[in-house]
């Protein structure tokens, strides 16, 4: 029994694949100390509401914070368990592989969750990026040009493949899609 216990803990650490697992747990707990217990060995079902997650200093002013929380939460509404929280920061850390980051970035930018980035998703992304600095015409032009450039199989929307193909050509993606904790 003791044998199995050590295996599990070592594997638990391994599976978390995050070198700052303890730090993240304490950050999670700091958001709501009365809800989150210190002892996680029997894996309690604790879920922090989106308002708490969105008030973290790293996410507070990020225009995509709601989408990030929705993508990584189990229920799709932004309420995160500890696993979701760790998942989120491990994907957004320096060590996550490029394909994994591209997959989640695709899901973040896909506002209507249909596994494609269509024109309306693009427009919403642009609006979040620029917050009404661009005129309607400019937004439309940018969307058209982006579709032209990135849509390889010409079906009018970006699939995961198109997105990943474009990300491969952008060396800055790894450094910008990164949150420091």
């Amino acid at each position: 029994m003791g044998n199995k216990q050590t295996i599990f803990t070592a594997q638990q650490l391994d599976a978390y694949q995050v070198s700052q697992e303890k730090l993240l747990f304490h950050r999670y707990r700091d958001l709501a100390p009365q809800l989150v217990p210190l002892d996680y060995t029997n894996q309690p079902d604790v879920r922090l509401p989106y308002e708490l997650i969105g008030s973290m200093p790293e996410l507070k002013d990020n225009p995509f914070r709601q989408r990030i929380a929705e993508v990584f939460s189990e229920d799709g509404e932004g309420n995160m368990t500890l696993d979701d929280f760790l998942d989120m920061f491990s994907v957004l850390s320096e060590m996550a592989p490029r394909d994994l980051k591209a997959y989640y970035a695709f899901k973040i930018y896909d506002f209507n969750n249909d596994d494609f980035i269509c024109k309306s998703d693009l427009e919403k992304t642009l609006n979040k990026l620029t917050r009404n600095e661009l005129t309607e015409d400019e937004v439309r032009m940018v969307c058209e040009k982006v579709m032209d450039e990135a849509d390889l199989d010409n079906d009018g929307r970006l699939s995961l493949e198109d997105f990943q193909h474009m990300i491969v050509r952008a060396p800055d993606f790894l450094s910008t899609f990164h949150i420091r904790i």
């Binding site: 638990q12 599976a15 225009p63 990026l129 390889l152 199989d153 493949e161 952008a170």
Partner: protein, 828 residues
């Protein structure tokens, strides 16, 4: 809220038509084959009628004709524009079903698809380890181009999700530990599911620890491995919490973004290099010599300028070359010099240690630099960079690290400006500027370049003359040999003149270059960056070149004329002075350039604009300082200490000034490409130049006859040769060593051969990259062709389908509108 309503809609649609996406693909594929059969047979009236009633039923049950953009078709079904034929035109149900189950639309959609995709990847990894599979094992399919595609196309193989999971777990088991970890890390599922996959992969029988009859020694080994892994994880987490300046860097990146962060990360990297050099040199040179101080007639006079000039009190200390002895240090035992009565005999050959330590330090630094350069090059180099700029800007330019509200606002503005510029550029028609305009632009650039190159050459010549003048001045002072305190003080102070001159040129001239560059026009901001960096680099390289000539060509050749017993110590002191002056001038620049400028612009000019942190210039300053530190290693083994202290001070000073006085840069800064570029600059002109100088000194210049570890030899290099000869004499079996030494190390032919092979390897790799670029172009064309094929087939299918139905298109549209109005009830 809108997102949820659409997804609900999609689910409703699928539930209505009884198709639950990828899990029910058998039925869909059946319907597809059924359709093809129906088209190829001769149609009888009854069949037509059956199909028609079937279709009408299907269509009234439809919610909406198009797949997921529900609003695009509502109310305007007449618009059958072929701009986006697969999205906006109204298709029939059967076509829609076929469209929805296309392989490109099911990848990544559901857990089942992810599992099957990764099953195929693990399968490929397992297959790679085995020998080539026989031809018989390839499945025959009607579309030969999809043999070996990632998604299974054989309809019979579509299992339920649990089966897929089983098979993925089986595959994971068969991989090695590293591969399994890597594969698990890359799977885009939640941590919970990954943990389950991993546990089931490990829990399967076949692992030795699940059996009961484990011999006790392997159980012990197992415990040790577990304990080791546990302690390794705790050590890693301790290390990461200890990471130097983690919070400071986070604050900088939160406010200023990745570009400015790269300067501070570069500073930290240089700090680690210098700490490493410090440890090596201290351990092997300074400590042994400090424990056994040589008997020198030290007469320390404290002038008060010691810290600046490095001479005087420090001249005969362990800091400089002259302190080190040229004999083998032995441990004196019990005061008696009689070695036979010693119990523990310890000898340390100082000249050899000096030679090999410096050589090893340079060699290891070279390897680390080349490794980090190639790693960062691999991350940032992309073969085809010409297309897709706008898409990359939209998706990849938002820096998630930025957290401060005002910086977020600034980033928004920056991105908007860049997007506007890019759109304008893309839209701008190719205006062929007239010959006159092009000529004038070219002549302005030529003028700017002439000014810059001319001023660089002028400054280099000025430094050459000035150094000659100072040299003569020193000779005169030495010859006058008056020993008054004043004249000695003046002599020490005059040594500071050259460093001050060089540092002030380094400070002022890049500003002048930037002013000159204002009048030029460049195509892109990155080109402007590169030109500015190149001009600055040219200035620094030429100044350092002139200085090296001055030290190695003038001072080293006739040291007696300036009254030097030990020219190496003098050169070491010079380098110390240069390093220190560089630091002082950088601080002055920070103070005046940023702090006072901000005060001036806010109080006097009444503008809100703060000065911008010039990343390129600051990084080049760092590289210049590091070059001097590397040059001085041979002459001043303690110079890394000075460099470490300087870098520590510089970090805090620059960070404080940045936070208070500067604003984030407005121009785009490609951080990863620039980092690669700076590491390349650190490796090529900087490190290579220093290594060449040091090698030249060691190989050709005669060391001083009365000080240092190489006194009496013709060149420093002879220390190694003497040792090899001594070894060969003592041990006749090692004569091949002398032979190897003479022909391999001394003979330059071997070096040329090695350089030639290196160049051939580089050429080969560049040809491979070229070939890959061509292949990428061909494959992109192929992708476009496949897209066209797909469109063609779908439209063909649709037209054939429509031809069979006797209903007019208007009635079809009426039916679909009926379906639409029904469908709208489902929308929330």
């Amino acid at each position: 809220m809108a997102a949820r309503s659409v997804s609900f809609d999609a689910d409703a649609h699928f539930m209505e038509t009884g198709v639950e996406s990828p899990l029910d693909e058998d039925r869909v594929h059946d319907s597809f084959t059924q359709l093809i059969h129906e088209q190829s047979r001769d149609l009888s009236h009854t069949e037509t009628m059956e199909m028609n009633s079937f279709d009408l039923e299907e269509e009234t049950r439809d919610d909406f004709p198009s797949l997921s953009c529900a609003d695009s078709c509502a109310g305007v079904p007449e618009e059958a524009e072929l701009t986006d034929p697969l999205v906006e035109t109204c298709w029939s149900t059967a076509t829609l079903r076929v469209l929805s189950s296309m392989p490109s639309r099911t990848i990544g959609r559901s857990r089942g698809a992810i599992l099957s995709q990764y099953y195929n990847r693990t399968m490929q990894m397992c297959r790679r380890r085995q020998s080539r599979p026989s031809i018989r094992s390839f499945s025959r399919s009607a579309r030969p181009s999809i043999c070996g595609y990632r998604v299974e196309t054989d309809a019979a193989n579509f299992d339920r999700e649990e089966n897929k999971r089983e098979r993925l777990v089986n595959n994971l088991q068969n991989l090695s530990e590293n591969d399994r970890v890597r594969m698990l890390r890359a799977i885009p599922l939640s941590l919970h599911e990954k943990r389950e996959l991993r546990l089931s992969a490990l829990r399967k029988p076949g692992r030795s620890f699940s059996r009961n009859e484990i011999p006790c020694c392997s159980q012990l080994k197992y415990y040790i491995i577990i304990a080791f892994r546990h302690s390794w994880y705790s050590w890693l987490s301790f290390l990461s919490s200890l990471q130097l300046w983690q919070t400071a860097l986070k604050r900088v990146s939160g406010r200023f973004g990745t570009g400015v962060l790269s300067y501070f990360v570069f500073l930290r990297t240089l700090l680690f290099f210098n700490v490493f050099l410090l440890l090596v040199l201290c351990l092997f040179l300074v400590v042994p010599q400090a424990v056994r101080p040589p008997s020198l007639s030290a007469s320390p006079h404290l002038y008060g300028l010691e810290l600046l000039t490095g001479a005087g009190y420090f001249a005969d200390s362990v800091m400089y070359y002259g302190y080190y002895s040229n004999y083998t240090l032995t441990k004196a035992c019990n005061g008696a010099r009689n070695q036979t009565s010693c119990g523990f005999h310890l000898s340390y050959n100082m000249p050899l240690a000096y030679f090999f330590t410096i050589g090893a330090a340079f060699f290891i630094t070279c390897i680390i630099l080349v490794y980090s350069m190639s790693k960062s090059f691999g991350q940032s180099f992309r073969i085809d960079r010409s297309k897709g700029l706008l898409a990359m800007k939209v998706f990849c330019s938002w820096d998630f690290k930025v957290t401060k509200k005002s910086s977020v606002r600034l980033q928004r503005e920056n991105i908007s400006i860049q997007l506007k510029e890019l759109v304008a550029e893309v839209n701008r028609k190719e205006v062929k500027s007239s010959l006159l305009q092009r000529l004038s632009a070219f002549s302005i650039q030529l003028l700017a370049w002439t000014i810059c190159v001319g001023s660089t050459a002028g400054c280099a010549y000025a430094i050459y003359c000035f150094s000659e003048y100072m040299h003569k001045d020193l000779q005169i002072r030495v010859r006058s040999s008056s020993n008054t305190k004043e004249s000695l003080l003046l002599k020490e102070a005059s040594l500071l003149a050259l460093p001050v001159a060089v540092s002030s040129i380094n400070l002022l001239l890049p500003g002048f270059f930037n002013t000159v560059a204002w009048m030029e026009e460049y195509d892109s901001p990155s080109k402007r960056n590169y030109v500015a960096i190149f001009r600055n680099l040219m200035l620094k390289v030429s100044l350092l070149g002139v200085l090296c000539y001055h030290w190695l060509g003038r001072v080293a050749l006739e040291p007696k004329s300036v009254g030097l017993e030990c020219w190496e110590s003098f050169v070491g002191q010079e380098l110390y002075r240069f390093l220190l002056m560089d630091f002082i001038f950088t601080s002055l620049d920070t103070f005046f350039g940023e702090f006072l400028w901000r005060l001036f612009s806010q109080r006097v000019l009444k503008k809100e604009r703060k000065p911008v942190f010039d990343i390129a210039r600051n990084v080049l300053e760092l590289i210049y300082g590091q070059t001097i530190a590397w040059l001085g290693l041979l002459f001043t083994p303690l110079l890394p200490v000075v460099q470490v202290i300087k870098l520590l001070f510089l970090f805090y000073m620059k960070k404080t000034s940045l936070m208070r006085n500067c604003q984030a840069p407005r121009k785009p800064w490609r951080a990863s490409q620039m980092t690669t570029f700076f590491i390349t600059l650190l490796c090529f002109p900087s490190f290579l130049g220093a290594a060449v100088c040091v090698t030249y000194t060691m190989w050709t210049i005669k060391p001083s006859a009365s000080c240092g570890p190489f006194q009496g030899l013709n060149t420093m290099f002879q220390a190694g040769k003497k040792w090899v000869e001594q070894l060969a004499k003592d041990n006749p079996r090692l004569t091949w060593l002398t032979w190897a030494h003479t022909y391999l190390v001394e003979n330059p032919f071997f070096l040329f051969l090695a350089a030639g092979i290196f160049l051939i390897v580089i050429y080969f790799h560049s040809q491979v990259v070229d070939g890959q670029r061509k292949i990428i172009e061909l494959l992109q064309e192929q992708i476009e062709n496949e897209g066209e094929d797909k469109k063609f087939l779908i439209t063909r299918l649709q037209t054939i389908h429509e031809q069979k139905r006797p209903f007019s298109p208007r009635r079809v549209r009426g039916a679909s509108q009926l379906g639409l109005s029904r469908g709208n009830m489902w929308t929330i």
